[in-house]
Symmetry: C3
Subunit: 169 residues, 3 copies
């Protein structure tokens, strides 16, 4: 079962995804796409890490998501990917070729992966259109990615104030 | 039947509106409010245009929306207006008088128009309040317009990740 | 009964909260957290004020919300607090200590307050992550506060285009 979990900043989407993983009863693999580039990011990562059960396997993968998923997805496993927006941002920084290649690979790989998959991603497109061209590109690509993933996921959930709302499934 | 279709940037709101128009079985008139002022906008417009069926009549009207609707609305037609936020932005650039006049005209005209009407508009008010006073004004006017139109429409839909959620109707 | 009413800028959340207060049939106390620091804010406050019934008691309290609620909450009263995001912003400007103290006090006080309580707050986390560190902090704290309050409220409502959607309750 594939689930896309969307929500704004600090909406509780990660917490909800972690509950879903916990309740799956499966072995949990957590894929973190964040890199601790600065102090603020380091603190955010530490906070997320504290909250996670000690028996979860944590992998850090900022770029090669499709490869990592293929290597670790198994019928009796739940893989939680947190979050797609950072992965997208990491890729867009590296340039068009790498971005297109990884994006394609993810969408192509997804339908055949076994086990449970939980994708967490930020809703970023409901504010004012950013002045900065790169930010605008990022908003566009996040939106397109969410649309494509929503098609491939059996369940799509939108989290507001910690309250999950089922959009699909 | 009047429908307001709201969604963030790249939420799939235009695609959903186009499906609704297609499924109406009526003759479709597409009113584009965008003007190709720069390359980025030109590319966005071209992308939208490619997706639309060849037998739709396309009109470009960045300002005089009420007049255009009065001239083209017919019982056996579906008119798709994409999008109101650009129209609003075009008007606010021209100054208060024109803005007020066109806004009033739209709201006054709407209830008596025959046929099906699909209004697409961007949700822009769920991010941080912009520092720029004009942007703040734009967010305010988009919000007020959505509230007024939601009253006049039989159906209001909110699109996230390509998934339409009915808010009214 | 405690209700949290969330919505974007100009989503109609205040208008909805005022309807809820009106329909409660209870004596209404309105707590405004805004201060008229500049002309724009003054105009927004005046607009809100005009809309409110003359028999509502209005209190202005930009900071000490828990104290004010304790002093005025009564079984036969409905207290409308508009809005929490401004209160949060006022507190964050004053520094960490005051912020933590008032935030804690509100969450601790809330469960034991009698009567009806309506909290209005802005959704600010669904746009692009702001560049400015203070704005980012504000988005974070707004999100965390909404999550905590949503737990303590029997009802949580999200308003779009003036249309209330029940998220909880």
């Amino acid at each position: 079962m594939r689930e896309l979990i969307l929500g704004g900043a600090r909406s509780g989407k990660s917490g909800y995804a972690e509950q879903r993983a916990q309740k799956s009863g499966l072995e949990v693999v957590y894929i973190a796409t964040a890199e601790a580039c600065d102090q603020e990011m380091g603190a955010r990562i530490a906070l997320h890490r504290q909250r996670r059960p000690a028996d979860w396997l944590t992998l850090e993968e900022p770029l090669a998501l499709a490869d990592t998923l293929r290597a670790h997805a198994q019928a009796e496993r739940c893989i939680l990917i947190d979050c797609l927006t950072l992965w997208l941002s990491n890729l867009l920084t590296l340039g068009e070729d790498r971005f297109k290649c990884e994006r394609e690979a993810l969408l192509r790989t997804l339908p055949s992966l076994p086990g449970q998959l939980l994708f967490v991603s930020n809703e970023v497109g409901q504010g004012i259109v950013p002045m900065n061209a790169l930010a605008r590109r990022f908003v566009d690509e996040a939106g397109y990615l969410h649309q494509d993933l929503a098609q491939l996921c059996e369940r799509v959930t939108w989290v507001v104030a910690g309250l999950p709302q089922v959009l699909k499934g």
